[in-house]
Subunit: 229 residues, 2 copies
């Protein structure tokens, strides 16, 4: 791969540093080891294009509204997400649990779709959020089929051979998640779909209720077939 443009790369680094918090020029200078003047020039440009906003009171910088729109535009083009929408709703209806679809991105699970549990309010939308890969069913499925991950251990081998994964209270107490892989036409795993819900609903006598596993695997296979068309 060839050379890369310095200022653009620095601008991207700044945006990543600003993800989820407000930082000042001086704080950014310490984090990036760049002169304040240089940073200010990049920040001024980012403000000008709407990617960054400056707090009028404190002078600190935060991400801008344009990024929200660009991020949601990513979803519009995402093939996997477009094909999954209908099947995810169906899975939510059958299982009566919240449904999640994710992809592996920078070692974490990036949530690209999220259907709330039916008849249950007060849930916050997690699309665009990262979930840990090792303690969620989605993550286990994705790691087990990740070509760059070598020898993920016994658990991931099991996940790969039997075709689904479970997390039993590993991320949150009393919460269980199940997931299965989604493959593109060439057989490569490009994502995972799963459900998440209370321990007492998704398990029986400490074992995963296989009915829910079937629901999830059927949805995953349906999307996989859909992608092949």
């Amino acid at each position: 791969m060839g050379e890369t443009i310095q200022s653009v790369e620095r601008a991207a680094a700044i945006l990543r540093l600003l993800a989820g918090r407000r930082l000042g020029v001086a704080e950014l200078a310490r984090a990036t080891a760049l002169p304040k003047g240089t940073l200010h020039g990049i920040l001024r440009t980012l403000v000008h294009v709407g990617f960054v906003e400056q707090d009028a009171a404190t002078g600190k910088y935060r991400l801008g509204a344009t990024l929200l729109h660009l991020g949601s535009s990513y979803l519009d083009v995402n093939e996997l997400r477009a094909r999954s929408l209908n099947w995810a709703d169906g899975l939510a209806g059958r299982s009566r649990e919240s449904v999640w679809i994710g992809t592996l991105h920078e070692g974490q699970v990036l949530v690209i779709h999220h259907v709330f549990r039916p008849d249950d309010s007060m849930q916050i939308l997690q699309v665009g959020a990262y979930l840990p890969a090792r303690t969620t069913a989605l993550g286990k499925v994705l790691l087990a089929h990740d070509p760059y991950e070598e020898s993920g251990g016994d658990e991931l081998d099991l996940v790969r051979s039997r075709g689904w994964a479970a997390d039993l209270e590993e991320l949150e107490e009393g919460e269980v998640s199940l997931a299965a892989p989604i493959k593109d036409p060439s057989g490569v795993v490009v994502g995972a779909i799963g459900i998440r819900g209370a321990l007492e609903r998704l398990t029986r006598d400490g074992e995963v209720d296989m009915r829910y596993v079937s629901y999830v695997r059927e949805a995953a296979r349906a999307i996989t077939r859909d992608l092949a068309r």
Copy 2:
């Protein structure tokens, strides 16, 4: 305002052009009137930082997954959205309609929160999407209080004086929306909250059902008070 960094500004322009579609280097060259070589350098950098992905089959470029995460990170820092979450759920419960919160951005309504109508599946999430300003209740409220918009006409004057707006089938047939302004501690309108639903539910004899107007205005006042704390 001082000078701005050329390459960063160009990179931002490319990202905006890529919003919602796939484009090739040649297409971008025509749209931006830049040499292909220059564009390629910027694109290579954007791919490197994950803001853009290249379709392996066609060679075309599309937005990358990193942007989805950055966009959702914007919401984490957004004060208005954080304070609105609870009140939006309450409004959805009372009105039994879908709830929307938006801000004016680049002349359009940027949706920063969206609660589905209770007991109704098959709705797609609109956070991050733009709505037209002139044909939605949210947009009318925001335009009516926009300091940069001068003399918005009789309808916007009415909206400003009575404190709420309605759209009667202006965006979609059979659909009605209502909205009221949210103000920051200094009195400036920073957003709007509203509901959207079927004509037959939100109106009586062709007139807006004032009970729903009350729900919406109460929610807006509650958030305004919340922001003052």
